[in-house]
Structures are given as structure tokens and as C-alpha cells.
């Protein structure tokens, strides 16, 4: 479990290359304000005032300014429906691509079945062992036996095949795209917003057109997965190549390497580590859409979760959810192990070996063949014997109803009351009023206010960008629903920060806590949200508080992790200096440690918001309404336009928040 966390932390940091080291932060500097070019802001102000007067100072976004975007999207979907089997572009181009992808997944599934369950376990564990990671090998064996024991071996193999192909395609497309973006400013600028869009647009919003264009099952599922998951590998390849030291590239050039040689022999090998981090991140994101992919018929581990939801069986859902978490860990660890082995210096290798590498290879090869033979001897079409089926269903459900009985009702906990009380309080006193206030803010004031904040924290170019963003939410016709979602996002964010940052500090003070937290945070982040959809309703009732709770669970991890990481990265001499002045622990925290870790903590806030926004859909599934519900309705009731508009509004909210919390941009990216 611990290994999973390490690359994640680095990715979270690395994924934000624009973030400044320490200087350019969001702290407001009064002296700077005095010198600021007020003219830009004044023009902005004027534009907003004029449009406000023009609209007669209406409080809701003027409906006459909302073009019929939803209808346009709907007619596009209708057009596709009518032409899906006739238009040459669909029939001779998209459909074959879909079929080819679907067939390659099927072929891989067949191969895995042919290997049989002992064979698959041997191949995966053997790979880890060959990469020099015995412990990973043992973990793989245990995790894969779990797939079999819970009776989901073949479902796991379909998911494994789908994930492998999706990750492979993401790498094959993503690395060259990242290289292209790294070598050309134009490509980079063009690609960035597209990556934001792909990463933040909920997959729910585009499932229907994907099914129409590529078909259901693995064909459509793989396209949806790749769209959602490809961004990190592009971003990190770009980052990796950018981070190759200038001198190294120059040295390569001076030896007379041409561009291709330079890329192949210098830049790519040196950028290997970030690229591998990118691949790991792709794996995590791909596995987070397994359940959604099941809605378009990919089968696999998403199916038992969907079926468990139909009969409100949290235990069954959890059983399959754990399998998804384990699958993520297996792939993550094997990719890391192999990459580490490639990147390792030869001279430090070969110390203290029991078996020579050559013999080890022969041994592993032999074991794999023996395992395959064994699998075929056992028979059963390569799947795990069903007699061993184990289910967590009963104990989990019993435990959950025990918890609900004792935590939910008024008298459960002294003074505070039960979770139902907590939920009513938050809904009545915080969420409902906040939603009302946000909904009542006149649209022109909202745009202007966001602009001013944007100007203060991030400069006036960003201010214009966020103003356009807020206006775009209105133009998409999502003003009211966005205010419902925004209230929940803010409350969830405050909760994550209020609990996550102190937890991160405690874990820094007392390292054993960190060891305990790590696996928990990993599980919270990889566990499909569909699994805890029922528990949040059991404890907080259908409504906006359930949505907030689900978002909190999912988005807590980066707040804790990044705070902890930021504190741990502080240079020893700084702390020594503080100690020599005789600072107490709290003085130390306030005056030395927190300021030094500020940029990482701001990044923690940024990442938390992104994860809360990613969870808006799940909030929609537990009755929180807002944009998430619109997206869910879009898929459920064939209102593609509504779903896509709401999805785009989520993306815009994400971009606005991201730009506001990223701080002042470095020179050229302003």
C-alpha cells in the first residue's frame, strides 16, 4: 500500500509544472496593489456595469442571453442517431476503429483465459520478481487469489484486459503527443485546454454519443476510458522533456546528434521517471471509470457493483470495489517496478543476489509454463474454481446497519446528536442559506467579484479569463444549478481543509500516524464512489449533505498528503535555525514550517477542489441536485444536450477554481 502513495504524491506535485516554487504565491501584497495597472480592471468593470444596466440589473442570469445550446447538442445527437448506420465517416472509419479496439480487448481476454488462473498469477508475479521486487510479487499473488476467492475471476480478467488496452493506447498516443507539445509552443498552447476538458468533463456526459459512434461494450468503453485517462501521460511526458537539463541537451548536440537521436538517446531516457508517473496516473484514472464503463456494457468488475446497487447490498459492492482497488495497485506496482528496474544503474545492481539474473529468468519462465499446464489440468476454462466463493456481503451489511442504528438517530451520540442531526444542521444552517445567497447574488456582481478576486490573486489576464468563465456558466443556461453545486463544493472544500490540513500536520509530528493514514487514503481515492453511495445516504439522508459527504471522502486525500509532503520537504537547516532560537512547537509551525510549506499547501487546496468537482456526479446520484444531477439525467433520460451543458459548466467551474488557486502565473503564461 505504501508504494502506491509515493508516486501519487509526486504526480500531484509534478502535474502542476506552472506552480511557482515559493515566491509567486497567492498572498495579497498591498504594496503591489498600489502600483497595479488599474486600467485593465477598470475596462472590465465598465463592461460589466454596462451589461448589467442593459439587462436591467436582473438577479438571475438573463434568460434571453442563453442561446439554445442544449437544443443544438440534442439535434447533433439526433443527427448521429439517424446517420450512425449510413454516413460513410461512421460506417467506414469510426465503426471499424471501435470494432478493432473491441476485438483487441476480447483477444486479450481470451489470452488471459487461455493462460488460466495459475498462469496469469505466475506471469504477473513473475514480472515483478524479474524486476527485482519479491515483495510486489507476493502481493500480486495474494491480490489475484482474492479475485478468485470472491468469485469474480472472469470479471477481473475482463477489467484487466480492458484496462491494459486502454493504458497501452493512452501511452502509444500520449507519449508522442507529449513530445510534440514539449517541442512546440503552439502545440502546447493548443493542447492544454483540451487536456483540461478531457480530464474534467464527466464521462457520464459523453457516453451516449460514444455508444452511437463506436458501439457498446468494449469498443465504446475503451474510447470513454482513454478520453478520460490519457491527459496525465501527455502532461508528464511534456514535463519530463522540459525538465531535462539544458546542458545535457547541449552536450548531446555537441556530439553531433540529430533531433531524433537527441530525443531517443538523451531526452526520453532522462524523462523516463515522469513518464512512468504519468502512466501510473493513467492507470488510476482508468480504473476510476470501470463502473461508468459498465453502464455501456463493458462488463467486468463494474457489473457486480451496479447489480449490488440494485438490491442495496453494500457488502457485495464493497467486495467488488476492493477488487478494483487491488487491480489498481497491481498494475501500479508492476509498472513502477519494471520502470525502476530499467532506470536503475547497472553498477549498483547485482549486489547480494541469491540467484543469478539468468537463472532467475529460467526459473520464472519454468514456473509460468508449469502454472499454465497446471491450469489446463484443473480445467474449468481457465477460471478460478467456484467452490471457494467468499462474500463480504453479510458481515459488511450487518456492521453497516449496526453503525446506522447507533450513529444515525438523535440520541446516538451525547450532545452532538446522531449523523441525522449533523446532516440536518449542516443542511439547514449552512448549505441551504449558502445556496440561497449564491443563487441571489446578481449575475453581474458575481462576474465582477470573481474578476476582482482573480485580479488580486492571479493578475489581470487571469481575471479576464475567470470573468469569461463565470459568464459562460450563465450562457450555458446553468446559472441556478451551478450555484447549488458551488455551495456544496465550498462546504466540502472547507471540511477537507479543516480536517485534512491538521491531519497532515499531526502525521508530520507523529510519523506512525502517517503509516496508518496512507493505506486508508489510498483506498478512499481508488475505491469506486458507487460503493459508498448507499452508506452516505444511510448516514446523511438523500440531499445536499449526502453529496458533500461523498465529496469529502473522496477529496480528503490530497489535503492530508500534500500538507504532510510540504512539511517534510522543509530543509533541515531551517528547522535547526528555528530550534536554536528556542521556538516552541506551535511557534515553529506558525512562523517557520507553515510558511515554508505554503506553496505545497496551496497546491493541496487546488487538488482538493479538483477532486470535489470530479465527485459532483456522485453527489448528483445521492440527491444533491445541481450540475451533477443534470449530467445524470442527461444519460438517464436521453437528454444529451442537458448532460453536456452541465458537464461543460463543471469544466468551467473547475478551470475558474484552478486558475484562482494556482496563484500568479509565471511570465509568459499569464
Amino acid at each position: 500500500m505504501t508504494m502506491l502513495a509515493e508516486p501519487n504524491e509526486q504526480v500531484e506535485l509534478a502535474a502542476k509544472p506552472e506552480l511557482p516554487s515559493d515566491r509567486r504565491t497567492t498572498k495579497l501584497k498591498v504594496s503591489k496593489l498600489a502600483k497595479a495597472p488599474w486600467s485593465g480592471l477598470f475596462v472590465l468593470f465598465l463592461a460589466i456595469v454596462i451589461s448589467a444596466i442593459y439587462s436591467g440589473f436582473s438577479s438571475g442570469f438573463p434568460t434571453s442571453w442563453v442561446p439554445n445550446i442544449t437544443t443544438w447538442f440534442n439535434s447533433l445527437a439526433n443527427w448521429i442517431t439517424i446517420h450512425q448506420n449510413t454516413a460513410p465517416f461512421f460506417v467506414h472509419f469510426l465503426t471499424p476503429i471501435g470494432n478493432w479496439l473491441g476485438n483487441s480487448v476480447n483477444a486479450l481476454t481470451n489470452l488471459l483465459n487461455w493462460l488460466s488462473w495459475p498462469g496469469v498469477i505466475a506471469v504477473f508475479a513473475g514480472t515483478a520478481v524479474l524486476a527485482g521486487k519479491w515483495r510486489v510479487g507476493i502481493f500480486v499473488v495474494i491480490a489475484m487469489i482474492y479475485f478468485g476467492v470472491i468469485g469474480l475471476w472472469s470479471a477481473s480478467m475482463s477489467t484487466l484486459a480492458l484496462m491494459s488496452v486502454a493504458v497501452l493506447i493512452s501511452v502509444v498516443l500520449g507519449v508522442p503527443l507529449g513530445i510534440a507539445a514539449a517541442s512546440s509552443r503552439v502545440v502546447e498552447e493548443a493542447i492544454r485546454p483540451v487536456l483540461d476538458l478531457m480530464q474534467m468533463l464527466p464521462a457520464y456526459a459523453y457516453l451516449v454519443p460514444i455508444v452511437l459512434l463506436f458501439g457498446i461494450g468494449n469498443s465504446g468503453g475503451i474510447i470513454a476510458t482513454v478520453i478520460y485517462a490519457i491527459a496525465p501521460v501527455i502532461r508528464l511526458t511534456m514535463l519530463g522533456i522540459h525538465s531535462v537539463p539544458y546542458e545535457t541537451v547541449e552536450a548531446g548536440k555537441s556530439f553531433g546528434s540529430d533531433r531524433w537521436q537527441l530525443l531517443r538517446k538523451v531526452q526520453l531516457p532522462l524523462a523516463l521517471k515522469p513518464i512512468v508517473l504519468g502512466i501510473n496516473q493513467v492507470i488510476m484514472m482508468a480504473l476510476s471509470v470501470v463502473v461508468i464503463a459498465s453502464l455501456v456494457g463493458t462488463g467486468g468488475l463494474g457489473d457486480p457493483i451496479l447489480q449490488a446497487l440494485n438490491i442495496v447490498d453494500v457488502g457485495d459492492a464493497l467486495t467488488a470495489g476492493v477488487a478494483i482497488v487491488l487491480m489498481a495497485m497491481i498494475l501500479d506496482r508492476i509498472v513502477s517496478a519494471v520502470a525502476e528496474n530499467v532506470g536503475r544503474n547497472v553498477s549498483t545492481k547485482g549486489q547480494r543476489v541469491l540467484i543469478s539474473p539468468r537463472n532467475l529468468r529460467i526459473l520464472v519462465g519454468g514456473l509460468v509454463i508449469a502454472a499454465i499446464l497446471l491450469g489446463h489440468l484443473i480445467g474449468g476454462g481457465g477460471t478460478f474454481p467456484s467452490g471457494l466463493s467468499l462474500s463480504l456481503s453479510n458481515p459488511v451489511n450487518t456492521f453497516l446497519s449496526f453503525l446506522q442504528r447507533h450513529l444515525y438517530h438523535f440520541s446516538s451520540i451525547p450532545i452532538v446528536g446522531g449523523t441525522s442531526n449533523l446532516s440536518s444542521f449542516t443542511t439547514l444552517e449552512i448549505l441551504n442559506p449558502l445556496t440561497r445567497i449564491l443563487g441571489d447574488i446578481p449575475w453581474w456582481l458575481a462576474i465582477f467579484g470573481t474578476g476582482v478576486i482573480g485580479y488580486l490573486v492571479a493578475g489581470w489576464r487571469r481575471a479576464v479569463l475567470v470573468c469569461v468563465g463565470v459568464a459562460a456558466i450563465g450562457v450555458l443556461g446553468m446559472w441556478t444549478d451551478a450555484s447549488v453545486t458551488l455551495a456544496q463544493v465550498l462546504v466540502a472544500l472547507v471540511m477537507c481543509v479543516a480536517i485534512g490540513i491538521p491531519l497532515g500536520i499531526c502525521a508530520y509530528w507523529w510519523p506512525p500516524l502517517e503509516k496508518v493514514l496512507r493505506p486508508i487514503l489510498d483506498i478512499l481515492q481508488t475505491m469506486p464512489a458507487f460503493v459508498y453511495l448507499i452508506p452516505v445516504v444511510l448516514f446523511f439522508s438523500v440531499g445536499n449533505m449526502a453529496g458533500v459527504a461523498a465529496s469529502f471522502v473522496y477529496a480528503l486525500a490530497p489535503a492530508v498528503r500534500l500538507t504532510n509532503l510540504g512539511l517534510r520537504q522543509i530543509k533541515v537547516d531551517m528547522i535547526e535555525a528555528g530550534n536554536s532560537f528556542g521556538a516552541t512547537r506551535f511557534q515553529m509551525l506558525r512562523k517557520v514550517e507553515l510558511p515554508a510549506a505554503r506553496s505545497t499547501i496551496i497546491l493541496a487546496v487546488n487538488q482538493t477542489i479538483m477532486l470535489v468537482l470530479a465527485e459532483v456526479i456522485v453527489a448528483g446520484l445521492v440527491g444533491a441536485g445541481g450540475l451533477g444531477y443534470d449530467v445524470v439525467v442527461g444519460l438517464g433520460r436521453d437528454e444529451f444536450g442537458l448532460g453536456l451543458s452541465a458537464g461543460l459548466a463543471i469544466v468551467v467551474l473547475g478551470i475558474v477554481f484552478d486558475r484562482l488557486t494556482q496563484g500568479r502565473p509565471a511570465g509568459r503564461r499569464g
Partner: protein, 339 residues
């Protein structure tokens, strides 16, 4: 430089190894697939029948029983596919899905695919009539007999006040893919309730369960056939009767009960030629709400596997199963506007 070059070397080695492994596995796969195809060549290849399982348990109950009979008696391989309702239509049209055994309404899709391009065939009625409406727990009706009708709900709205909807009462709606007029109904009938959309059936069921265990008042959108009605006892609230005139009103002005849903089956238009026996079976397949609920109940509550629940049902309903295998197609009824 030395570190770097060794890295390059190792990268190269990895690529070479990877290539060798990939070639090996492809060869193995080729052997595997050729051997399996040669063995299956001796028997007549039959297409796999794909049935869609939607997001309610009854849909799974239909499918496990159909799968059992098709595999046992007609000897076609059957695959059950979890799929959302909307994608199920283009998939059935394209042939990647063979049939859907329970369709609720979907007038628009019916017009596109059945009436319009004939890629989907109406395979007749399934048997149960879907009954959508307003429901309350029976313990609540016993305590407040006036809640049997909407007028009673209108008078007693205060019973249903929750923090989410305060100062109004709460009306709990369910999965977003199901047709609801509840927001229109509370406004046209002048009832002081606010509709809360649970967003998913799982969330709605959890909420109902919580209220039920605590014997609290709750009013919600619900339907039959549903196995949950056998786990808990619900009673329907009478709404103004459904009329054709009311169905033609704009969505926001609807002021009458939901129309009856004659649940029907659809299949791909090529199925009668590619798998005639299966097409015949699907057209003849029909049973009652009670039949469906008993199978759902066995799976959801008694935790039987799909195959075991199906076997139990088939063994105790031999003559019904025979009528599916030898009988005539069930009558057809197209979905009406507004469903």
C-alpha cells in the same frame, strides 16, 4: 554519461525482451485460438444471444430465467450485459444486443427504431403491467387513513417536512431515467411538497429503508413490479385518474395519475433469421409480476445465484416454460405518448 548510457542500454534490453515476450504470447494465443476453433468446428456454431440487464432487479430476473431456458433447451450460448436504458436502443438496433425483455415506455425510441428504421422489432408484451405512482409505507396509512388519496396528502403535508425541503414537505423521487411528473403534479394539485430527486434508485431505496426502520413518515415515487414490495409493505396514494386528455397536456401542466405501462419486449430485427428458435422463444416469453418478484426475491434477499434462482423457478413452472418454447407470440402494444 556512463549512468545515462547504461540506462539507454537497459531500455534497449527491455524493449528487446518486451518484443520477445509479446511475440511469444501472440504465438501462444494463435495456438490457443486455432485449437479452440478446430474443436468447435465439429458442432454447428450458434450465435451468442445477448440480453440487456437494466438497473432494476426485475430486469435481471427476466434475464436469468430466459438464459436458463435458452441455454438448456435451445442450446444457444447466452450473455447477460449490464447496460443503461438509453444505450440499449442503439445497441439493439446495431445487433450488438439481441433483445431487451422489459421495456418501460420509451415512446421516442420506439418511433425511431421500431416504426422508423425497422432495426428493432416489437417482440410483444412481457405480461406485467408497470404501475407507477405515489406510495407511502402501510404503517403510515394505518396511522393516517386519509393519506389514501392525494387530498389527504395535501392536508397532511406537514408530516413530510425534512431539513432538505423545509419549510415545505419532501416528496422523494428516484432514478433519473424513470419518467416522473411529480414536480408538475405537486404544483397543479397545489400540494405543499417539494420534489427531491434521489438521483439513483440505490439512494432512494436506502432512504426509504431508513425511514421504514424508524417508522417515520415518507412519501415517494415508486412502481410495481418490484421485489422490494415484498420486503416492505407499501400502499399507493390515489391520484386523479389518468385520462388521454391529460396525457396530451404539456409536461408542466399534467394533473392526473401515471398511465399504465404495458411492459414489452424488443429484439434486433435480424434475430429471427440468425437464431429463429430464440426469436420465437422471446416473442412467446411472458409471465406475471408475482413470478418475476419471486425470482428477484430469491436473488436479492435469499442470495441465490441467478442460475440457482432460475432453476428453482423453471423446475416449479414446467408448463409455463413449455408454453414459451412451443407457444405463440404474445400480443403487441406500442408505447403511448408520454411514456
Amino acid at each position: 554519461m556512463s549512468i545515462k548510457s547504461s540506462r539507454v542500454l537497459r531500455l534497449k534490453r527491455l524493449v528487446r525482451w518486451g518484443g520477445a515476450v509479446a511475440t511469444g504470447t501472440v504465438l501462444l494465443a494463435a495456438c490457443g485460438s486455432s485449437s479452440s476453433s478446430s474443436s468447435s468446428a465439429t458442432t454447428v456454431p450458434k450465435p451468442t444471444i445477448t440480453l440487456v440487464t437494466n438497473s432494476w432487479e426485475g430486469s435481471l430476473a427476466n434475464n436469468v430465467v430466459a438464459q436458463y431456458v435458452i441455454e438448456k433447451d435451445l442450446h444457444y450460448p447466452v450473455k447477460l450485459l449490464d447496460l443503461a436504458e438509453i444505450p440499449a436502443w442503439p445497441a439493439t438496433a446495431a445487433g450488438s444486443v439481441s433483445a431487451v425483455l422489459e421495456v418501460w415506455g420509451h415512446y421516442n425510441h420506439y418511433q425511431t427504431y421500431v416504426v422508423g428504421n425497422h432495426e428493432v422489432i416489437n417482440a410483444g408484451l412481457e405480461g406485467p403491467t408497470g404501475n407507477i405512482g405515489w406510495y407511502i409505507p402501510t404503517y403510515l396509512l394505518k396511522a393516517h387513513p386519509e393519506l389514501a388519496t392525494w387530498q389527504g396528502v395535501k392536508a397532511d403535508w406537514k408530516l413530510f417536512v425534512t431539513p432538505q425541503t423545509a419549510p415545505q414537505g419532501e416528496f422523494l423521487d428516484g432514478a433519473p431515467s424513470y419518467v416522473t411528473n411529480d414536480a408538475a403534479l405537486v404544483s397543479t394539485l397545489g400540494i405543499n411538497l417539494k420534489v427531491v430527486y434521489a438521483g439513483s434508485e440505490a439512494a432512494q431505496l436506502s432512504q426509504i429503508e431508513t425511514a421504514y426502520k424508524a417508522k417515520k413518515p415518507i412519501i415517494f415515487y415508486w412502481y410495481t413490479p418490484q421485489y422490494f414490495n415484498h420486503v416492505y409493505s407499501f400502499s399507493q396514494v390515489a391520484l386523479p385518474p389518468f385520462t388521454q386528455a391529460c396525457a396530451k397536456l404539456p409536461a408542466a401542466q399534467i394533473d392526473c395519475a401515471y398511465p399504465p405501462y404495458y411492459l414489452y419486449k424488443i429484439m434486433n430485427s435480424k434475430l429471427p433469421t440468425t437464431a429463429p428458435a430464440v426469436a420465437k422463444f422471446i416473442q412467446a416469453f411472458n409471465w406475471t409480476s408475482a413470478d418475476q418478484n419471486s425470482v428477484s426475491y430469491d436473488m436479492a434477499v435469499n442470495k441465490l445465484s441467478g442460475a440457482a434462482a432460475a432453476a428453482k423457478f423453471v423446475n416449479s413452472h414446467q408448463s409455463l416454460v413449455q408454453s414459451w418454447l412451443n407457444g405463440s407470440p404474445t400480443p403487441k402494444k406500442a408505447p403511448v405518448l408520454g411514456t
